[in-house]
């Protein structure tokens, strides 16, 4: 029984990408296996809220449903220099403190307007860590979104086999 449960949970889908979970019994740790960075489950949940603020659920799924924050973590873990990883983690923790200082409640409890305004300010923040954190978070959330299975099969269709080429495809000029 337990084995079947483990196999069922063995892969976490993030935007279409299959990720390995972390040790299931290790509570308080991030849900996916990370090799180079350490992120707590609380931080992971905060990242999910931030990603959802960047790309919210509308008539179509948002970042949280597509688990784009896990895609961001996977990219950060494997494709960034150690210095950038450190900046990101530090920036995330600074952001958490900033939210708490300003509102005395968690980011998840803020209104959409408050969340968007908090994040928008990060882009030109004087703190290198906060700016780096937001830059990576936003860039990779967008990359993950545009390249997600959902978007590529429902909204901006990616064709694996076009079977054609038209070099004079008529388009509206406006």
């Amino acid at each position: 029984m337990e084995r079947r449960l483990v196999i069922k949970q063995i892969l976490i889908m993030a935007g279409g990408l299959a990720l390995l979970p972390s040790c299931l019994r290790d509570e308080g740790k991030s849900s996916i296996l990370l090799k180079n960075i350490s992120i707590s489950l609380n931080e992971e949940n905060l990242l999910a809220e931030i990603a959802e603020t960047i790309i919210p659920r509308t008539k179509t799924p948002g970042a949280k449903q597509l688990k784009l924050h896990l895609f961001v973590l996977k990219m950060l873990d494997d494709c960034y220099e150690e210095a950038e990883q450190k900046q990101f983690v530090k920036g995330l923790s600074m952001f958490e403190d900033q939210v708490h200082d300003q509102f005395s409640k968690s980011f998840a409890k803020l209104s959409v307007h408050q969340r968007e305004s908090m994040l928008s300010k990060l882009g030109n923040n004087s703190s290198a860590e906060l700016a780096a954190f937001y830059k990576i978070m936003k860039e990779k959330t967008i990359d993950g979104y545009l390249n997600s299975q959902y978007v590529m099969t429902n909204l901006v269709i990616y064709e694996l086999v076009p079977g054609r080429y038209n070099g004079y495809f008529p388009v509206k000029t406006a």
């Binding site: 960047i54 790309i55 996977k74 990219m75 936003k138 080429y165 038209n166 070099g167």
Partner: protein
Amino acid sequence: MNIDAARANTYDVIVIGSGISGGWAAKEFTEKGFKTLVLERGRDVQHIRDYPTTNKFPYEFEHLGEPALAIKKENPIVSRCYAFKEDAMHFMVKDKEHPYVQEKPFDWIRGYQVGGKSLLWARQTQRWSDFDFEGPARDDFAVDWPIRYKDIAPWYSYVEKFAGISGNRDGLPELPDGEFLPGFPLNAAEDYFKGIIKSKYASRHVISARCAHLSKPNQIHLDQGRAKCQNRTLCQRGCPFGGYFSSNASTLPWAAKTGNLTLRPFSVVESVIYDDAKGKVTGVRVVDTNTKETTEYYSRIVFVNAGALNTNLILLNSKSKRFPQGLGNDSGVLGKYVAFHNYSARITAEYDGLKQFATDGRNPAGGGYMPRFRNVFKQETNFKRGYAAGIYGSRYMERDRSAIGGTLKDNLLHGKLSPWIMGSHMMGETIPKESNFVNLSATEKDPWGIPQLNISVAYDENDELMKKDYIEQLTEMFTEAGFKNITPNVSSQAPGLDIHEMGGARMGRDPKTSILNEWNQLHSCHNVFVTDGACMTSTSTQNPSLTYMAFTARSVDYAVKAMNRGEI
């Protein structure tokens, strides 16, 4: 017992290498009834079965295609290659696995598996003309080619019909027409540029790039189990349709069908065995990469198609009493006069017109091609030879990433078409010189005990002058066409990254200054042939693979006739 073992290891022909030229040698010999052993140093790659990424969507790659940072750091050389992405990196040699010595920086990009780099190549296929074959003699460099266009023209036709080459009959003396399947059309912006060039320059032309894709397959292609190109432009993964030519999709399965092919992967050739008593080569010595055991295989003739620089390595390492400096190297020129293509400049621009058109689907040919126009009919610049230029235009979806929330989402999903982005890259001829060479490292060995290759190849003054001219001329032509934001991009990439290394065992008439004769046969050892890039006397500007294919088919034809006459 030993005689039995020797008999079991004896074939009519041994072909070293299964890439684009080795695959052709295998096809030609097996079709003519010769028992042929093809030795491949890497693993087997069966058409379709061993293309693990071929049907993957972008989101199915671990990092959307980008190799992880740890992989890039471990492989600085191959990481510089445009094709080293998650979808094709399993077809490319990792730096550490196959070390070599860089006396001067040289990015040696390799594909060690059945099919070699024919799985990964950019598939551009242009014939040479006499403006190319006569280059060294006219412009006084290297040695005169021992052949002319008329010698190879029928063999171009022969390989084109089987491989499937798309293109238009453009009627240009500097880029002879071939046996074409329909060409892939230029798009609106490329056509516009073609028109401008035609109206302003008498001897410059923009044509549809000619490429090894089945735009409209003939029966001979269907017989190979290949189908029409589906415009995926994911070729580097291996094509499940066999839409482009590779050894894996075409020549090797064709050879296997004859029943005369033995393909042995994991077989590094340590050396070619020269028998001093018999005065000829009797076979090759192979190290099995898994067991590290050494085995000898025997044959009447040997074709060396290991890839230009590895062919040099094998010949240099094949020492005997008769050939103490390496097989066929009486002249001492083996390994010297290595050249390549200068790909170190590109240029981009924007065109504001023709906004009523975009492109739909994808063009496997990549766009347009401008054959060499410098110094073609006569010397007219302060540098020797010239360059061809790739020419392409495209519009992409600009997706505004600046906002946040619902607005951002809307902007991302509803992009705006960019203006036409025009681009070109330079493909320059480089001049072979004695000072650009490869030799065997005296100290370093590879994991199989074979000396590592030492590479000493660099750009020269002529390359710099030519690059400057490319930037000037393309800037001028783009300006004439009314393009804006013209941005030259000069790269400091090392030689090698063009993946067009050539020479070292060059063809020539005189055994004192060349290694191979007009039939790609060693001057001084008549049962050994070299028909890969190592044979090239000069490089011209065309992508070389089609010429290797034609040389191979021509050379096999000669070898078979010579064997039938009892000469070999």
